[in-house]
């Protein structure tokens, strides 16, 4: 009887997963950050990329205020994860290294929130 129930449960779970009719599983973890998005930008990012995200040619740091939030989110995702494909690597070798150091220092942030913030920099 137990075996039968578990088989039905398994079949149901598999069916739902494969057909996708239950939608995506909800992420249960809620991450908390030491600093707010604004604080991270002003305390850390701005040192190299400028208060308005204008970049700094002397440090060879790129501007951040030339992209939409959606585009910036892609770049931040790539940087924080060391690439977005299995074995392709990243386009942001230097920033991947720096970001890891900054996250270790507590300057971690939510990607969508930071991308939104950066996209509004030039309009301030």
């Amino acid at each position: 009887m137990i075996k039968q129930i578990s088989t039905i449960a398994l079949a149901t779970a598999a069916f739902i997963a494969l057909t996708g009719c239950s939608g995506e599983k909800k992420a249960t973890e809620v991450k908390t950050y030491k600093y707010s998005t604004t604080e991270v930008y002003e305390k850390s990012c701005s040192k190299c990329h400028g208060m308005n995200g204008e970049g700094n040619p002397l440090k060879k740091t790129p501007a951040l205020n030339d992209r939409t939030a959606g585009e910036m989110a892609q770049d931040l995702y790539d940087i924080k994860n060391g690439g977005t494909n299995q074995s392709s690597g990243t386009d942001h070798d230097i920033m991947e290294h720096n970001m890891q150091k900054l996250v270790d220092k507590g300057y971690d942030y939510d990607i969508n929130s930071m991308a939104e913030y950066m996209s509004k920099l030039s309009k301030k």
Partner: protein
């Protein structure tokens, strides 16, 4: 399609290779396995059809491959008053690309993966047999074949991507997987030990190449091993697992012929890991060790000399740089050198990019891919433009498995938007990589943007299993061709 028809199709496929699995064994697995039952259910039941909508508007879908045609079918099922036009030049656009690995390893024939665009055009959907040559999203129109202007209220971009063989010095051509205009690539690829399963004809040639390698290994004398090299480029690629799958399958064919000890198999990826998900990375590393594979990270193929049979890689690494007072850490410097690698057999995974017409227009981006909000699949700049499949700038998402999740999300959101409602659906980055690890076993690597395994089944997802071979080789094609292209599953 009825359940017993799909079952019959699966069993017919099984019959072709009794040495791998007999019909009796397959029937046994299918009848006792709740997973197999669910696969059949998933392919036959229209459980995911969105609710009907009377929203109006002219919809243009640019690209009629798996992503575009499935989206057309689902919109057609959903909208009671649908006005949909698909623009697609390739008569074989809906061919089953995931099967190219199996063609390359001699398990399937190319005829097993060829499907015709015109057979899968949903009834009532208009087709323009041409290519979009310009996008004008400010004025809601596109140009077809340089002359014909088509206007739209809503547009879906599903052009797919380009295989950029020409970016490797010594090779030429920028092609699609099933397009006929691949003569430039075939000058050098598909012969003399240079192979690539990423285009359908190249996959057929790869099987010949593996047979040649086996024959060469049988005749090989002396302590020096033959060199089989497998590459992975520095761009996002479709089916991130394929560069490894063809390596596993080459290994299987060499073992089967009893000549595995005559050949060294080495993987040269541009990146520094086997997989973005740590659990799968570790599992693949172990599989590589178990099979005696070698690998060298941070090597990107930049040149090939097909006469002297030497591949040149850009090997890159990081070194400690100067103290950075803003970072309060030492920075890093990037270093690189060119490394020449002689080969007897090389499988090339080409760099990939968005089509020029997309990259150079307002709908593209600096990297070419179409920028969308990755959860909703709506364009970041144009509210009436949507994008999915290989051309979308979505992390990890260039597989048929992710397109299968994306097209349902996109249609839900697009229809809601046409009705003036807020967007109800979110894509969470689901991708599936049925990693073929030998003839008869597959590791079903399912994951999403959380970078954690997200298995559909309560089984350890890092294990190689025959049941996933059954899924990959016999069930996914009917699910895709009959379920997805009809917009139902």
């Amino acid at each position: 399609m009825k359940k017993n028809e799909i079952l019959e199709e699966i069993l017919n496929e099984v019959d072709k290779h009794p040495e791998i699995m007999s019909r009796r064994e397959a029937l046994k697995y299918l009848s006792v396995s709740p997973m197999a039952a669910s696969i059949l259910a998933g392919a036959t039941v229209g459980a995911t059809t969105a609710s009907a909508s009377s929203a109006k508007g002219k919809i243009v879908i640019v690209g009629g491959g798996l992503a575009g045609m499935s989206t057309a079918a689902r919109l057609n099922n959903t909208l009671s008053d649908a006005d949909i036009t698909v623009i697609e030049p390739d008569p074989l656009s809906v061919s089953y690309q995931p099967g190219q690995t199996l063609v390359g390893a001699g398990i399937w024939d190319v005829s097993d993966i060829q499907y015709k665009r015109d057979d899968y055009l949903p009834s009532g959907v208009k087709l323009i047999k041409g290519s979009v040559t310009a996008f004008d999203p400010e004025n809601n129109s596109v140009t077809v074949d340089g002359s014909k202007e088509i206007s739209y209220d809503h547009m879906v971009i599903a052009t797919g991507l380009m295989l950029n063989y020409g970016a490797i010095k010594g090779l030429e051509g920028v092609i699609t997987s099933s397009g006929k205009d691949n003569a430039s690539v075939k000058q050098k690829v598909g012969k003399n030990g240079v192979h690539s399963i990423y285009f359908a004809e190249g996959a057929t040639a790869t099987w010949k190449g593996i047979e040649e390698l086996v024959a060469k290994a049988k005749a090989h004398k002396g302590p020096k091993k033959l060199q089989a090299v497998f590459t992975h480029p520095n761009t996002p690629i479709k089916c991130g697992g394929a560069p490894k799958k063809i390596m596993y399958l080459t290994n299987a064919r060499l073992e089967e012929a009893g000549v595995r000890d005559k050949v060294e198999l080495t993987f040269y990826p541009n990146g520094g890991k086997m997989f973005g998900v740590p659990e799968y990375h570790e599992a693949i590393l172990q599989q590589y060790k178990d099979r005696g594979f070698k690998w060298h990270y941070a090597h990107n193929l930049v040149e090939i000399d097909t006469d002297s049979k030497v591949a040149t890689f850009n090997h890159h690494w990081k070194e400690k740089g100067e103290w950075d007072e803003d970072l309060e850490e030492y920075g890093i410097e990037l270093k690189s050198e060119l490394v020449e690698v002689p080969y007897d057999f090389i499988h090339i995974t080409p760099p990939m990019k968005a089509p020029e017409v997309v990259a150079n227009s307002a709908i593209g981006s600096s990297k070419g891919w179409v920028p969308v909000t990755k959860e909703t699949l709506r364009h970041v700049k144009f509210d009436n433009v949507w994008c999915l499949g290989d051309v979308a700038a979505v992390p990890m998402g260039k597989t048929g498995g992710s397109a299968r999740k994306q097209y349902a999300v996109l249609v839900d959101n697009m229809v809601a938007s046409m009705e003036g409602k807020s967007l109800p659906s979110k894509y969470a980055g689901y991708t599936v990589c049925p990693l073929i690890t030998s003839i008869g076993t597959v590791m079903l690597a399912e994951f999403n943007w959380t970078k954690k395994p997200t298995p559909s089944f309560p089984l350890d997802p890092t294990k190689e299993r025959w049941i996933w071979w059954l899924l990959k080789v016999y069930a996914l094609k009917p699910m895709t061709i009959h379920g997805m292209l009809s917009g139902r599953a």
